[in-house]
């Protein structure tokens, strides 16, 4: 139960990017988990070569990921969105990107499991008789911090509000003299930058192989849909719900079933209430 709550905080971190890009911008970026795994490997390389803390690496690399995201969005915009055929071919485009990134990683690093060890990974604290491993606690706290950060960014800053405006009415924004493409580039970049940090968290929780991204596609989209498509607070709540459901499932039926939980929740949410728990 406690493990599920902690897992939920981490899942929130992983899903924020999708919430932003898919939920608010309506761009079906199914390559997001691949960017997360890229972040994991970046953290691994930096830790291996320089002994840097993974979370520090994740933070340091956000500008790089931001640039990568902005670039991907520009290509996407020029090839699909401008021609008005984004939905079907755009989806295929991102699926291709996902595949290329996954295979490139396995060509570079092989398919061995990689893990980053830090000073705190093996420690734990005792809270009211329940042992809490730092390995889960730290990613959970970072995840909550990221959620809060994104929430404040969207609600309080000029660009954040502009992103919200883009998601509501592009035409109106254009009439107000702002450039929706530029705003969406920023939002997409921020979403991918979040993947850098999320990837760093991922590799400090559990070992990673290039095909780990497949496990997270379902989780990310389940959380985004359940959370109500772009609602940042909803993302956190849905992430916790999924984390608890998964850890309960793993306890009672065995870990091999836990992956089906996220996809089952996703199917159920899509079939019964596509607007999610906190839908607009």
């Amino acid at each position: 139960m406690v493990a599920g709550l902690l897992l939920g905080g981490f899942y929130a971190a992983v899903s924020l990017g999708v919430s932003l890009i898919f939920g608010l911008l309506d761009i079906a970026n199914i390559a997001q988990p691949a960017f997360v795994i890229l972040g994991s490997y970046a953290a691994y390389v930096m830790n291996d070569a320089l002994g840097l803390d993974p979370i520090l690496t994740g933070l340091l690399l956000t500008p790089l990921f931001y640039g990568l995201g902005a670039l991907v969005y520009r290509v996407y915009y020029a090839s699909f969105e401008r021609r008005g055929e984004e939905s079907l071919r755009g989806l295929v485009f991102f699926f291709g990107i996902l595949f290329i990134m996954e295979v490139s990683l396995s060509l570079t690093f092989g398919v061995d499991y990689r893990l980053v060890q830090t000073a705190y990974t093996s420690k734990s604290i005792d809270l009211g008789g329940v042992g809490i491993a730092f390995r889960y606690l730290v990613p959970c706290l970072v995840g909550i911090a990221m959620t809060a950060g994104l929430y404040l960014f969207l609600g309080r800053t000029f660009y954040g509000r502009a992103i919200m405006a883009v998601s509501q009415d592009q035409l109106a924004l254009r009439l107000m003299g702002a450039n929706p493409v530029q705003i969406k580039t920023i939002a997409f970049g921020v979403g991918i930058a979040a993947a850098s940090l999320a990837g760093a968290l991922l590799i400090s929780i559990a070992p990673v192989i290039p095909s780990t991204d497949r496990d997270y596609i379902g989780r990310m989209f389940a959380i985004t849909v359940l959370g109500g498509m772009g609602s940042i607070g909803g993302t956190l709540v849905a992430a916790v719900v999924l984390g608890v459901a998964e850890s309960l499932m793993a306890t009672f039926f065995g870990p091999s079933w836990s992956l089906a939980v996220s996809f089952g929740i996703l199917l159920l949410a899509l079939a019964v209430r596509p607007a999610g728990l906190f839908g607009r």
Partner: protein, 312 residues
């Protein structure tokens, strides 16, 4: 029967005949081994295209349908030692039922949501198979081929069976494309609401497309256990099927039955060559790059390029 469709039937029979003749030649066994995979992709790409190309519903769950066919076959081999034609038919029917279910999903889910749901379906089914010990669970299961195939070695026999299945599925796709069903599907692909308003029975057409597509994918998967002789969830549910099923029609061109065939033959052959000469990971890399390149630069596929060159 119009003269054109008569001609098509003749061409189909010709291909089957050529396949049997090739099987009789007994060239290097690897030819049949690789040929089977390419033909299997012809079936898969054609089946995917009936839903994805004609109706515009992108299915990421191809592995689910393929594996349904394969695991239905495994189950029947385990329990009854059923003969191959029964396996193919049963595998197709089970996958068709799954397709029908997916068809009802389209009532609520369109576009991106449908695609994600099919992906989810694939993972849920894989988890169920992993936890089902009777068909091998996560460890997999060895399948013994029946002794004494009607002719040649068992792989050449399976090769000719696959030639027949490929011709069958292309015929089905061609028939759908030329009939009112194909026109109805094209109408709902372009604008579902408008088609519905014009009196196109969209739900019935969508159910038809998902069921037929599922059936053919299951048919492609049913001989798989005898082909590999060792079935385990990771190979039956491989993401390769999803990406290839999508890439091949995209490369060939999605609006005509010829597109998936061209795509499957070109990409399938290239992959076989790359697997032999470089590495199997490299071949997946090539698929990804080619897919993205085509989607960005030539969205109409090779057929579209040819049409543009002809100035039509």
């Amino acid at each position: 029967m119009t003269p054109r469709s008569g001609l098509a039937w003749l061409a189909g029979l010709g291909v089957v005949g050529a396949g049997i003749a090739l099987a009789g030649l007994r060239v290097n066994p690897y030819v049949y081994f690789a040929g089977y995979v390419i033909l299997q992709y012809v079936v898969i790409a054609t089946a995917w295209n009936i839903l994805g190309g004609y109706a515009g519903y992108v299915n990421f769950g191809t592995p689910a349908f393929f594996a349904m066919g394969a695991y239905t076959a495994v189950f029947l081999i385990q329990s009854l030692r059923a003969p191959l034609p029964v396996l193919i038919l049963a595998g197709g029917l089970v996958a068709a039922l799954l397709g029908l279910g997916i068809g009802y999903l389209t009532l609520r889910l369109r576009g991106v949501f449908f695609s994600i749901a099919t992906l989810a379906l694939s993972v849920v089914l894989q988890t169920m198979i992993i936890n089902w010990e009777y068909v091998g669970g996560s460890r997999g299961l060895s399948v013994i081929r029946p002794s004494g195939p009607p002719f040649g070695s068992y792989v050449t026999f399976l090769f000719t069976v696959m030639v027949g299945l490929a011709v069958l599925s292309v015929m089905v796709a061609r028939f759908i494309e030329r009939s009112w069903i194909g026109r109805g599907l094209a109408a709902l692909r372009d604008n579902e609401e408008a088609a519905e308003c014009m009196g196109v029975p969209t739900l019935r057409l969508k159910l038809f497309a998902t069921t037929i597509s599922g059936f053919l994918l299951g048919v492609a998967g049913a001989p798989f256990p005898y082909y590999v002789t060792f079935v385990e969830p990771n190979s039956a549910f491989a993401l390769d099927y999803a990406v290839n099923a999508l890439a091949m029609p995209m490369i060939g061109g999605t609006t005509s039955w010829a597109g998936p065939v061209i795509g499957a033959v070109l990409l399938g052959t290239a992959q076989q060559l790359a697997t032999v000469t470089i590495s199997s990971e490299m071949n997946l890399f090539i698929v990804g790059v080619v897919l993205v390149a085509f989607v960005v630069l030539a969205p109409e596929g090779i057929l579209g390029l040819v049409r543009r060159l002809r100035g039509r």
